[in-house]
Amino acid sequence: MTREQISEFCVASLANVLRMPKERIETGTKFNRLGLDSAMVVYVMMELEEKLGLELSTDDFYDYPTVDALSNHLCEKRAARPAA
């Protein structure tokens, strides 16, 4: 998956959990500004784990608090993992 695809997937997942149209989710806006609470963070995290085959922590969302930062981070994390 490319960084763009990861970003698109994040936006779709956020739109679903926030019940907001995808167009309204700007990739540079902080998650808490979008209204993402901790239970929602867990939900999005689980979706990303499943899609990307990575193990994540909720801390990732606080360390990389926007769609842009998080998809960069996840893209690097995927590239760095040992081949299965």
């Binding site: 019940r19 902080k30 808490n32 500004r33 209204g35 609470d37 239970a39 939900y43 689980m46």
Partner: protein, 572 residues
Amino acid sequence: METFRSLVTLLARRAESDPGGRAYVFLSDRGEEEAALTFRELHDAAHALAARLGEMARPGDRAILVFPPGLEFLIAFFGCLIARVIAVPMMMPRRNSARDSSAAILANCEPALALTSSAFALRGDLHARFQRAQLQWLSVDLAPAGPVASAFAEPEPHDIAFLQYTSGSTSDPKGVAVSHANLLENLEMIRVALGNTKRSTYVNWVPLYHDMGLILNALEALYVGATCVLMAPNAFMQRPLNWLRAISHYKAEVGCSPNFGYDLCVSRYRPEQMQGVDLSSWKIALNGAEPVRAESMQKFAATFAGHGFEPRAGFPAYGMAEATLLIAGGNRGAGHVTHTVSRSALGDHRVAAPADTADAQVLVGCGRALINETIAIVEPETAKRLPADQVGEIWVSGPNVARAYWRNDEATRAALQGKIAGEAEQATWLRTGDLGFLDEASELFITGRIKDLIIVRGINHYPQDIERTVQSLDPALRQNCGAAFAAADEQGEETLVVVQEVERTARNRIDLAETIALIREGVTDQHELSARHIVLIRPGSLPKTTSGKIQRSLARKLWLERRLDELTPGAD
């Protein structure tokens, strides 16, 4: 069932009759056993702690309990009961939240002691947050203790066992003073309704500072002599299916959760991750602490039918801390009742047949009054009792209803000493602030609430707290001119709506979209709550009473009807 004078005698009895039986098991985030206590070990550890408490505090003093998930909390809780120190379970404060109710709770209960686990005693911010003159810290660990002779007199039935602070806003918290008698009465009521025995293993993820975790799970299991397997709330939030795996592994009979927990299991369900999981042992899947949704129960039963889940195990229930815990519930294996009613009539607090399918709303019955308890539906303004199938405030009378809030006579009079008009009897009633009706068979249906309270994922939020957060964000947001309330979305989920007036002078200075984002961020950060709808309105347009009180339910009605004087970008 044997009767007990206090929880201290109950624990002694369990330690004597089943010393090697496992009282509590704690699972790691991976689902492996991390710690366990037999009834005897719990008894001895609690007595050893009580001996230490006796040197630091007197009977009747308060001790706050601040623990991460684990078994230490239970030693601390029983240690307090033995030493006759009043336990005050506290929610673990989040590191980054500036505001929570802990300061106001401390001011109300004036604790002499703070108990925590040795690992947590190191967390510096705890001491800062709970800073208070003369507060002595004591750490509790799981190191084995030998038998200790008790130097304490046994508590009397009407002695206060603990304070449950789940009611009241951040600035005005209300601690329900729960006595040993209240607890034992409610534990017996729960035993009869759930039909539990010492073989009824529990698996619980609800936090122990929450009454559902503490009473319905941890204490009820001890009461019937069963094992209670505990997991951390966060472990459940991240891997909800681990709860079901543990139920299967331990062949548990009882698992309880607020409604959202069942939804979470359904949304995380992956058949390939659940091979071999057998839920046929599960007899009571209690659903309470927030509104019960018919659709959630159906979906859960359908999703897990292939794993042997019995739909009749679904057990909707209703309760609150003021009644110790449980107020209404069904009977083991009896299934649940639903009524299809008119959504629009319900909006006007009437029960009627739906006009058409679009108007149909399915209500789940929360069972009937428990043994030795009475539920009445009362017209809240006149305090007159209403007949079956009429919506009114739910009032409760029984030995499980607490006598008082801790040091809050006004709240005690208002909520715990209700009298029904024209009924001369001695009975005093708990006014729940919830709306509902009883059908002809005395089944209770919850339809709404008159108290200003927002319940999300089983946690109570008070609108005053959210409004204060909002108004602190920008001077353009007028003080005391906002309303926060709950409204059900298309899925029937309770969501948060914030309505706020903007100062006339600031109208042209601020960017509406930017202000809304600021509010959303502030509410998320301070309350762990997502505001679905934020509406900025013209000054003076929020409904208030003549004395200046905010009319939240009227604001909600105006919002639902789109009649608020909303500020829109581009308009002046």
